[in-house]
Amino acid sequence: MLRYVAHRLLASIPVLFLVTLISFSLMQLVPGDPAILIAGLQATPEEVERVRQQLGLDQPFHVQLISWYAHLLRGDLGSSLLLGRDVLDIILERLPVSFSIALYALLLTVGVGLVAGILAALRQNSWIDQLVMTVALLGVSLPNFWLALMFIVLFAVQLGWLPSGGYVDFRDDFWGWLRATTLPAVSLAMLQMGLLARITRSTMLEVLRQDYIRTARAKGLPQHLVVGKHALKNVMIPVVTVLGIVLSLLLSGSVVIETIFSIPGIGSLVGSAILRRDYPVIQGGLLFVATMLLLLNLVVDLIYAWLDPRIRYGHGE
């Protein structure tokens, strides 16, 4: 198992290299110049050129790239072109924000999506089933930015129950954090909740038809053990498989959602950095997000092996 983990971690290095290479190249292709933004629109071409030299943006592409990698090896992600601050500091500062919202959304996804899917399967074709499947279909089909705006209109503007944006640190004020993050987390989780509810329902229906469920009933086990133990562990196998997809959706969705709710997280950081062509921040942010995704997928695969004894990693390598 340890060997497998080490192997996976080593294999993620080329992936991260490719991610940064592609993002670096893409930003070079996109028109726009951070030097103009920094120097100001009234600046003369000479002033802009001076700024460009200061930032090292006059260097050829490969020189910039190699210099970035050289710094990275020393653990230096560079500093923001516009804020002048260390990129790693900015990311670490915003990490708890994004992470706490993502965790909230993940809990909602698994809690609500899984339970709703199981209920729908157990009461197949009932009104509960119809309701769950309708809401799930809406969640999967409606774009999250539109949902977020509608939530703001309804819950913040009309009803005034929850704030329309902003962020409160959970270490300062947990209830404030919960109020501030509920709308973003729900908007972020809607798609995944729908996805998970649908997958859970169809898997549960499939599992409940299996012979081993009949065996569990023939043993005289009560319904809660038949479903909550014998069926659930089997249902979790495909569910955990889609958790990998769910996590990537959470990360990509956070760019839009954090921007809409003006939350100072990694998503809005990378989003605004792209608009301002703040190359070091974009690179650092993407590298960070990609690393998180790779690690989380590794965790998912390990859970997968724990759930299904027929899967064993680390043999025959």
Binding site: Y212, R214, T215, R217, A218, K219, G220, L225
Partner: protein
Amino acid sequence: MSARERDPILSVRGLTTELRTESSRFHAVDAVSFDLFPGEVLGIVGESGCGKSMTALSILGLVPRPPGRIVAGEVWFEGRDLVRASERELQRVRGAKIAMIFQEPMSSLNPVFTIGEQIAETLRHHERLGRRAARERAVELLAKVGIPSPAERLDSYPHELSGGMRQRVMIAIALACNPKVLLADEPTTALDVTIQAQILDLLQRLQAELGMAVVIITHDLGIVAEFAHRVLVMYAGRVIEEGAVEAIFESPAHPYTRGLLASLPDLEGEIGRLSAIPGSVPQMGALGPGCRFAPRCGLVEPACLAADPPLARTGARAVACRRAALAAAPRERVA
């Protein structure tokens, strides 16, 4: 059988289970009645789809719903009608007093739990044993069903075991709480021939040892001849003949039973073509008013198509055929 002198342990009366499909609904089990006596082995034989498995599932209230539903009848066990018992009462009977094993050992065990857990679970649930005590009993049970080095096997997962071993585990689960009745639904059908014999020997040995009553459901008359004391022959959801094994094998009364026996390969006689019953099992959704076997019967006469003959009982024998007397004549006369 001396067992007959006592009261039956399980008494099925007029059990009728309806199956609904999108296009039709029919009685997969149609007014089935029989008694099972303590220590007795009762064979239920018939072709696939004749309702024999559905009968066993109906007894334990395990008919998948939808599409199935018990619409009539009684199943008397220990002074209680299981058809009218609550789900909680049924749960106390299942696995503890009436246990069941199935045809598919490959898929009947849960793939994500160890076999030790799957055996011990029943004991913890029904007998309120602690974790360690249940584990110890599980080892004993595995030894009892002939699994080598049972203590090590306890932590194996089903996929690490062969089909025969898995069926042994299923038997261990079924026997965990010393049930009074074992319903064995085609327990050897999915296994290799050599393994079939081993499993059958095991069941026979355990039956004798524990003195439990067994209902063995099979399409294999060889198993019935070897294992059962009494036979119930089912056709299209109905019991069409009943009697002691020797009597049925010596003088089958129903043309269908005769056909079944005639289709057995005869190892001692000359080698020729196997005789088969012409036609196939009728579409259950589209049954006429007459005898269900009439379309395939060589002895059919117009009256057979008018009404379905009732199961007529004479002593220990019962048969549902208007022409039973004729059919009882020497075998050669049946096509």
